[in-house]
Amino acid sequence: MTYLILGYVIAVVILGGFLAGSLVQLHHRHHE
């Protein structure tokens, strides 16, 4: 179970972080 949780935590952090970062870039650059 520990490895299952670890695997999905890694995936959520990477995918969620990339999605959030991309959206921030999308909206941030609008004001430049």
Partner: protein, 250 residues
């Protein structure tokens, strides 16, 4: 602000809102996939809970392959027709493909530990090595774009990497059949049909759909981000040219 600039800014805001709404839908899709993986799919009798890593691990690999196919098409479009859209699409897809490759790779390493007590520093595995090479190739593609002076030369160099690099995709896919090291062979595309019960196949398909949609949204958002970056570079170059003395004044 002129009328044309105001209309352009309004259109851009509307496009950003649309992409943000699509991103929200992609997150909702991933929550449905989470339900399919953790609630709907039955427990694997041999491996136990850790087998559930399979669903996102494989779906991410397929998404990464799709992204690298887009990089290939974009690169060919640029090399053949000088398509700037192709160049930008390749860049956007390379970013997203690299992220999905990272997810595939790390989830695979985590899964391998309890099942085979696997230590990658001791036992060579063809799938792991070819996937690591894939990661390096597309990281190289992005590094070329980031650090080479902007212009056609950098675009051409990256496009060549985008075309040649794709050769590693079939190598990754067939590595389990060519070398037969630790990584198991195809499960879903096994001869005679998927080597798993129907509910597991359904859970995989739901996850694949959600990941595919998320992947498409990420490429669309990255495309927009790259388009802005290109516009900023073009503005900076134009400003430099305006500052430079005219040839007759030199």
């Amino acid at each position: 602000m002129t009328e044309a600039v105001r209309i352009s800014a309004d259109l851009e805001r509307a496009e950003n809102r649309r992409l943000t709404a699509l991103a929200g839908a992609a997150v909702a899709g991933m929550l449905v996939a989470g339900w399919a993986i953790f609630v709907y799919a039955p427990q694997d009798a041999l491996q136990g809970p850790v087998q559930r890593i399979f669903y996102l691990h494989v779906a991410s690999a397929v998404a990464a392959f799709g992204c690298f196919a887009v990089v290939l098409l974009g690169s060919v479009a640029f090399l053949w027709r000088g398509s700037l859209v192709g160049d930008r699409l390749g860049r956007a897809a390379a970013h997203v493909g690299l992220v999905f490759t990272t997810v595939t790779f790390l989830m695979g390493v985590v899964w391998a530990k309890p099942i085979w007590n696997w230590d990658p520093t001791r036992t060579w595995d063809a799938r792991l090595t070819s996937t690591a090479a894939l990661w390096v190739i597309y990281a190289g593609y992005l590094l070329v774009r980031r650090f080479a002076p902007p212009g056609r030369t950098a675009m051409r160099l990256a496009a060549v990497v985008g075309v040649i690099g794709f050769v590693d995709v079939p190598v990754v896919y067939f590595s389990v059949e060519w070398w037969r090291t630790l990584h198991p062979g195809p499960v879903l595309t096994a001869s005679g049909g998927p080597a798993m019960p129907a509910p597991m196949v359904v859970a995989y398909l739901v996850t694949q759909l959600a990941v595919g949609f998320l992947c498409g949204v990420l490429v669309a958002v990255q495309y927009r981000v790259q388009a802005r970056r290109d516009a900023a570079v073009a503005r900076a170059v134009a400003a430099q040219l305006e500052l430079a003395p005219a040839p007759e004044a030199r």
